[in-house]
């Protein structure tokens, strides 16, 4: 491991590639060493994750942590296993090996939907909106623990349901206004453009009242103006206390948003550090551009 000075403002670059049997305890210890004293335990920590599809090891002993209040980036060449890692973190896929801790608790016994209830929500690489529901309905759906989602409550607690709906509707409207979709509230979500869908997906994620949002390529296929708007929203929400983990290919986005970047290649950790460090890391460049 690279020697590091605790006084340096920026986190030192650590290259993790090829370190086979790293377990979670080591990862956590490493974070504690590396992090300035003001930062606590990571909000999300995963260690030794392995996932194979047939003979291919899509994720091969990968680790990651996300510190609370940070915007953490996850980059890597195509096919590096970033989205698979996302699926493992959000329990959409079960890891063959390894553990994920969210907010200090292990996630692997939970089904995917309960993870959202605990405060970690994900978006999808290709924005997935519920086309034949209105934009507002998309937002309202995301509210957790709704009283009206219980079958029997729809019989006996009509007025409470109506009350809760009204409150959530107002909250949804505020969020829609902040992402510039308020005028579309009653349109079908399927009539939104690609970029608007990305925004709706983020707004919808926000409606779940999360601690951590996993964004899978928020800027992919979005025009530059809208990319700026999306970045602005992420920064604002981050200042309000939300933590983000972002997969992105657009280096400008990564550079402008992230505090810390993890690099994945062939399913393994290649490097971790500040965006500046990552950009100049020869191993990262090699993984992206091939051996020269």
């Amino acid at each position: 491991m690279v020697d590091e000075s605790p006084h340096s403002a920026e986190l030192p670059l650590e290259t993790l590639g090829g370190q086979g049997g790293e377990n979670l305890a080591e990862i956590l210890a490493e974070v504690e060493d590396a992090a300035p004293a003001s930062l606590q335990m990571p909000l999300l920590a995963a260690g030794g994750l392995v996932k194979s599809f047939g003979g291919i090891r899509a994720v091969d002993n990968a680790s990651i942590e996300v510190l609370p209040g940070s915007i953490t980036g996850l980059i890597g060449p195509n096919g590096a296993g970033k989205t698979t890692l996302f699926n493992l973190l959000s329990n959409f896929l079960r890891p063959d090996q390894g553990r994920v801790l969210f907010d200090g608790e292990p996630l692997h016994p939970l089904p995917a939907y309960q993870i959202t209830q605990r405060g970690m929500v994900r978006t999808f690489q290709v924005a997935r909106v519920l086309s034949r529901l209105s934009v507002m309905e998309n937002m309202l759906l995301a509210v957790q623990h709704q009283i009206g989602e219980n079958f029997w409550n729809t019989w006996f607690k009509q007025s409470q349901i109506a009350q809760a709906e009204k409150l959530e509707r107002d909250r949804a409207m505020t969020i829609l206004e902040s992402i510039g979709l308020a005028h579309m509230a009653n349109e079908y979500a399927g009539s939104l453009s690609g970029g608007q869908r990305k925004l709706l997906e983020m707004g919808r994620a926000l409606m779940t009242n999360p601690k951590l949002i996993l964004l899978d390529e928020p800027a992919a296929g979005v025009n530059p103006t809208l990319i700026n708007q999306i970045c602005e929203r992420i920064l604002t929400w981050n200042q309000e206390g939300l933590t983000f983990l972002i997969i992105e290919h657009n280096m400008d986005v990564i550079m402008s948003l992230c505090d810390r970047v993890w690099v994945l290649a062939e399913g393994r950790n290649l490097a971790v550090g500040s965006p500046q460090e990552i950009q100049t890391n020869p191993q990262v460049l090699e993984a992206y551009l091939g051996q020269g």
């Binding site: 959000s90 959409f92 089904p111 995917a112 939907y113 309960q114 993870i115 959202t116 209830q117 929500v121 994900r122 978006t123 999808f124 997935r128 909106v129 519920l130 086309s131 034949r132 529901l133 209105s134 309905e137 309202l140 759906l141 995301a142 957790q144 709704q146 009283i147 009206g148 989602e149 219980n150 079958f151 409550n153 729809t154 019989w155 009509q158 349901i161 709906e165 009653n186 349109e187 079908y188 399927g190 009539s191 919808r204 779940t208």
Partner: protein
């Protein structure tokens, strides 16, 4: 004539009830259920056999519905984790298994000889007093007044739908198309109400059955409408659109699909009880897979996911059935058997034309089809 209308109302309402269950499962939740008749079989046999054994009729019907829901639970637990096309295959298999059990377990179901002579609702009421007759007509009228009120609200709402920009500006005048349809529906309603009221005054067993059935149908329809517009219904629709998203937003998709399958199944089970009471004789021949697909025709005809559309679909389906039964022999020179096949061919053709002209179904929303995923 009145007697014929009454039995037409009973058939239509039974099929409407049956199809409402399918509409919940497929139209709302996206579950492809090709074995809907299995729920009806369970409901019909359970009600009839239990009441023969001395269980009170109401309780027997409720148990029938619960058992049908239980079948939904069994199917759901074993298959809902699979992809939806597998569910389609499993359900069609289950419906045949249920029918084969009814055919072969003679100790229980009397097999192909069928069950008859079972208790019927309002059986004791052969000569009601004028007072109870008027009460029944009052109840009958109340259902129609409520239906008329719903129709009026639909007319006033006009073109105001999700997907329209001018949502806030309610149109002052009712659009002409709606007016024509509304008038037609009102006319049909008045004829049906009149026939029903006459039949109730001139009391017969069928008239009483018709009253109970229509009241039950109205209640089920009302509950389904409430559910559809509740957060519960929103989760079902989300699952229909994209189950992964529902999961990512913290919804237990499996549990909601199970609820939908069970509730739709119990509605079909109750429809089965009315089916049995109407025929007053049931055997496994009455529960062939064809009926499942008739329900599919009704749901597609009316517009998937639309409860009112399902009612309309059932009405049109039986209207077609009746009209062709009387009109076709007069204009098509074919013998009885061929005519029967010809009628089915024509309904197929009509469905194809409908799908070309109005692929969203009669009451479906056109905009929904033009949306990208």
């Amino acid at each position: 004539m009145v007697g014929y209308l009454v039995s037409l109302i009973i058939f239509t309402a039974t099929y409407a009830l049956f199809s409402l269950g399918l509409n919940l499962q497929w139209g709302m939740t996206g579950l492809i259920n090709f074995g809907h008749i299995a729920f009806m079989t369970i409901g019909a046999y359970a009600t009839v056999l239990l009441s023969l054994a001395g269980v009170p009729l109401l309780l027997a019907t409720v148990i029938g519905g619960v058992l049908a829901a239980g079948l939904g639970l069994l199917i759901g637990l074993s298959t809902l984790r699979l992809r939806e096309d597998y569910l389609a295959i499993v359900t069609i298999g289950v419906s045949e298994v249920v029918r084969m059990i009814a055919l072969n377990e003679e100790w229980l179901t009397r097999g192909a000889r069928g069950v008859y002579g079972y208790p019927l609702p309002l059986e004791a009421l052969t000569r009601p007093t004028l007072f109870s007759k008027l009460g029944m007509i009052g109840l009958w009228t109340a259902v129609f007044v409520l239906a008329g009120w719903q129709l009026w609200r639909w007319l006033k709402r006009g073109v105001k739908q999700v997907g329209r920009k001018d949502l806030e500006t309610t149109p002052r005048s009712i659009p002409l198309g709606n007016l024509v349809w509304g008038a037609a529906a009102a006319l049909a309603g008045i004829i049906l109400w009149g026939a029903g009221a006459l039949a109730l005054y001139d009391y017969s067993y069928k008239a009483g059955l018709m009253l109970i059935l229509v009241v039950v149908l109205a209640l089920v329809y009302w509950r389904l409408e409430v559910l559809t517009h509740s957060p519960w219904g929103r989760v079902l629709k989300a699952i229909r659109e994209d189950e992964q998203v529902a999961k990512a937003l913290g919804k237990n998709a499996f549990w909601y699909k199970l609820q939908s399958l069970m509730l739709g199944g119990s509605i079909a089970g109750i429809a089965g009880a009315f089916y049995a009471w109407n025929l007053s004789f049931i055997n496994p021949e009455g529960f062939i897979p064809l009926i499942t697909f008739q329900a599919w025709t009704i749901v597609v005809l009316g517009g998937a996911g639309n409860n009112a559309g399902t009612l309309l679909g059932a009405a049109i389906f039986w209207l077609y059935n009746t009209v062709t039964r009387f009109v076709l022999p007069a204009i098509v020179p074919l013998d009885e058997a061929r005519l029967g096949a010809f009628r089915v061919m024509v309904i197929g053709l009509l469905l194809i034309i409908l799908m070309m002209v109005r692929p969203q179904g009669l009451l479906g929303k056109k905009e929904e089809l033009s949306l990208g995923r």
